[in-house]
């Protein structure tokens, strides 16, 4: 206002003509002209949420592409029955206390003795066995129990039992495993053990009445029952009369387990048994290894660490997620292309020709859109999955119905533009239908098509995950998976292992949010009526 106050009283002689001599009307613009797409781009860049969404989508794409390359040793790319559902663990970050791979588990006394016993047996001194308390006090790196959180007294029947809530290392708690190896392999294992100083081979367990695994028939944790127990799994000791007595203790810390290792005639520990047929020279060896160390042996000395944990089959979650995201993105690209090609052409023909053509085409798309997508997908799966594979049949289902929304949008756009003067002018000048459609009207609808195609992506990603979650499409295989499959595998287990659900759910939510934001940003940018409107 202050500048305009003196306008009235400016003396006349102060005015002077601008550029009186030259003609300025044909001068060129000094700025570059801004076209439709340039303008849309400018407005898109102002929308911070969409930019962030686009960057996040880019990051997820990079994640999906890069993760397999970051894994030269192919860690976690094969199923691993010992390391299923393992919690996230990263050795670098565990030093500052996150992603330690620890899990809180409740044990009764027997179970507690067993889990601490794994740590005791993982030591290299097989003759002098420390008590539970000593083992916990001088816990080495291979002791699964990292911390006792609390001890509760629970009434079981009439007896008072102690329950131990302990933090255990999820990767160490699987303990020992039996492996059947060729004799050459055995020699290599011995050499590796010498070279690295990591104890790999542990004494075999005697097969007698004190071996709990033998009496219970438990094969999964058989290699962990290295101490003498009765048939109920309670630790026993052989007294001087040669009878087994349950070890009595007031405090579990005083409990000293008695080993049940297999010894030969001279009293030396036995490190392998023969399995399979053949002579002593050719038969395979069954050896007992600490699985944690065996893992290092089979993975070039690397300790197991999975940033996102492992999934229900023991695959690296990050790797499986990358595969799943790749499938989602593949679908996203395909649906974008389908929308762009079929939707745009169909809508263009419908809208441009109108009349009976429109009626017939509109009825076809009405019928197609009337079939619920899930029915289409199911029918395609039942009919095609065996011949063409699950993913192509899923794609066919999307091809059949995915473009309808875009087509109807394009149709309205064509109705809007086809009677405008410039189209009339083009036609008067002799342009054919094809030229009018593609050269004159189509570019005007491009913004709508792009927006509609992008906004179709989230629903496709959702449909895919829903179908595979419900088990209508089965995509789980050693080389293929989808986020929905990961989620449906986790369904029964995720209350115990939240990471199984957390990461796939987070990734798919992030993808959906970002594609929605990105699409919204595009819609606003391509909408010329919003031009100059700053919220």
């Amino acid at each position: 206002m202050d500048k305009s106050t003196n306008i009235v009283s400016i003396p006349k002689e102060k005015f002077e003509f601008v550029a009186r001599g030259e003609r300025i009307k044909d001068q060129k613009f000094e700025d570059k002209p801004i076209g439709y797409f340039h303008d849309a781009w400018n407005r898109f860049c102002k929308n911070k949420a969409s930019i962030v969404a686009a960057i996040i989508i880019l990051c997820i794409v990079l994640f999906a592409i890069i993760v397999p390359f970051f894994n030269p040793a192919n860690i976690g790319t094969v199923a691993n029955t010992r390391y299923q559902n393992k919690v996230p663990r990263n050795l670098t970050l565990s030093k500052i206390g996150i992603l330690t791979g620890d899990l809180e588990i409740q044990y009764n006394e027997k179970g507690f003795a067993n889990i601490v016993g794994i740590g005791i047996a993982a030591g290299t001194d097989f003759e002098n066995i420390p008590s539970i308390g000593e083992a916990l006090a001088n816990a080495g790196e291979l002791q699964p129990v990292t911390k006792i959180k609390s001890i509760e007294k629970v009434m079981q029947g009439r007896n008072e039992k102690l329950m131990y809530n302990a933090m255990v290392d999820d990767y160490l708690q699987v303990g020992f495993s039996y492996e059947d190896v060729e004799q050459e392999e055995y020699q290599r294992m011995l050499a590796w053990q010498e070279e690295t100083g990591i104890q790999l081979l542990y004494p075999m367990i005697a097969k007698n009445e004190y071996n709990f695994a033998e009496s219970s028939g438990d094969t999964n944790t058989a290699a962990n029952w290295w101490y003498k127990t009765n048939s109920r799994g309670e630790p026993v000791r052989i007294n001087s009369q040669g009878n087994a007595v349950i070890i009595k203790y007031d405090d579990i810390n005083d409990l000293v387990l008695e080993d049940n290792y297999q010894r030969d005639a001279d009293g030396n520990l036995v490190y392998f048994n023969y399995v399979g047929g053949g002579t002593q020279e050719t038969a395979m060896y069954r050896v007992r290894t600490l699985y944690y160390n065996y893992y290092r042996y089979t993975h070039e000395g690397r300790e197991p660490e999975f940033f996102f944990g492992t999934d229900t089959s023991g695959y690296d979650m990050a790797y499986r997620l990358a595969i799943g995201i790749r499938l989602s993105l593949l679908l996203a690209v395909c649906i974008f292309a389908i929308n762009f090609i079929i939707g745009a052409m169909y809508g263009a023909v419908e809208g441009y020709y109108g009349g009976n053509v429109d009626l017939v085409l509109e009825f076809i798309s009405y019928v197609l859109s009337g079939v619920p997508f899930i029915v289409v997908a199911t029918l395609f799966q039942i009919h095609l999955a065996a011949k063409a594979g699950a993913i192509p049949s899923l794609l066919f289902a999307f091809v059949l119905t995915g473009w309808i929304g875009t087509a109807s949008l394009v149709r309205t756009q064509f109705y809007r533009f086809k009677n405008q003067e410039y189209v009339m002018a083009a036609r008067t000048l002799g342009a054919r239908d094809r030229r009018v459609i593609w050269k004159h009207i189509f570019p005007n609808t491009l913004g709508t098509i792009i927006t509609a195609s992008v906004l179709a992506i989230p629903s496709v990603i959702f449909s895919e995950s829903m179908l595979s979650y419900l088990g209508i499409v089965s995509l789980g295989s050693p080389t293929q998976t989808s986020v929905g499959t990961l989620l449906s595998n986790a369904e029964k287990l995720w209350t115990t292992y939240p990471h199984l659900m957390l990461f796939p759910a987070a990734v798919i939510s992030l993808l959906m949010i970002c594609f929605n934001l990105f699409g919204n940003g595009l819609r606003d940018a391509f909408n010329p009526s919003l031009r100059g409107v700053e919220e």
Partner: protein
């Protein structure tokens, strides 16, 4: 108007007929096998029944018989796997109530909240409250419903232990309309509601911000109405015109329900029946369920279109 409605209904019936035909042909060409766990004698009997009912006739004859069955006896085929020899229609009807109940509760819960959130955001346009609602909307709309289902299950069952993880069986609760049953349905109702709330809030906000800037609002204010009066009496009424048909449509949509929520909370509804029929390859039931879903979606579309004309007299349906 009546002519338009008839036209739409006719169109719907033709579409339904086309879809039914295609589905029927696609489903009947699949080889059928007797249910597992039956012995050879039972299998023989079932195969004889199939033969007698014309399952081995040429496809077109089968199709003719199927249509005749529907029109004369309301017979949509028979379940052979899920509940052997029960008519498919009875199976479907028995599943309808749980689906409708859960979805109805969820709509009754979500609609007021969604509209209120939308109104609030529109009134507080471009203030932090508006932005908060926008963030909520984009979160609720984008994040898949099953993720919410897991979150709700985790928080309300696993952490707080307020509700059972899945809905109770009829024996435990004593009926569909008991308080216990309702209580166990709350997690499912909540997880279904997020999407509806967000969608409604978004459209209400969009419509209301537009009507709030209209000239008649200025007139209303100048003639002495307070802002609240003008908003409720003039803006809201007009803003609801495009929103109400959608709400009416979603009330039809509750018949279909949400498959994934039914699966997660083990609600014995139509969606679960569909999944069962697919996994067990119970084709007659699958056919029945497909027709039902198609019918519901077509019907919802028509009712939405027609209700525009009823709600807003300015809109003349079927006008060129």
């Amino acid at each position: 108007m009546i002519k338009y409605i008839f036209k739409r209904l006719l169109l719907m019936l033709i579409a339904l007929f086309c879809i039914t035909t295609i589905c029927f042909l696609l489903i009947r060409v699949l080889p059928m096998s007797p249910p597992e766990g039956t012995n050879t004698a039972q299998k023989d009997i079932i195969e004889q029944i199939w033969d007698a009912r014309g399952y081995n006739d040429p496809l077109l004859v089968q199709y003719f018989n199927y249509l005749k069955g529907i029109f004369t006896e309301w017979d949509f085929g028979t379940s052979w796997k899920i509940d052997t020899t029960t008519p498919a229609w009875d199976l479907l009807v028995g599943r309808l109530l749980p689906t409708v109940l859960v979805n109805l509760y969820s709509l009754l819960f979500a609609i007021p909240i969604g509209i209120c959130a939308g109104i609030y955001a529109a009134i507080k346009k471009n203030k932090w409250q508006d932005h908060a609602v926008s963030v909520m909307v984009i979160l609720f709309v984008s994040v898949p419903s099953y993720v919410y289902a897991f979150l709700v299950q985790y928080l309300l069952y696993f952490k707080l232990d307020l509700f059972p993880p899945t809905i109770l069986s009829l024996n435990d609760s004593g009926g569909w309309f008991t308080w216990k049953m309702f209580h166990s349905m709350i997690p499912a109702i909540l997880s279904l509601s997020f999407g509806t709330i967000a969608g409604l809030a978004r459209s209400t906000r969009a419509e209301l911000t537009e009507t709030l800037t209209m000239d008649y609002m200025l007139l209303a204010r100048t003639k002495g109405l307070t802002r609240a009066q003008a908003t409720t009496r003039h803006a809201l009424k007009n803003a609801m015109v495009p929103i109400l048909p959608g709400i009416i449509g979603s009330f039809i949509g509750i018949l279909g329900g949400s498959m994934i929520i039914e699966q997660i909370f083990s609600i014995p509804g139509v969606g679960q029946l569909y999944i069962k029929s697919v996994t067990l390859r119970d084709y007659d039931v699958f056919m029945m369920d497909s027709i039902f879903y198609t019918f519901v979606s077509l019907l919802a579309g028509i009712i939405v279109d027609i209700s525009y004309g009823f709600i807003d007299p300015r809109i003349r349906m079927g006008e060129r």
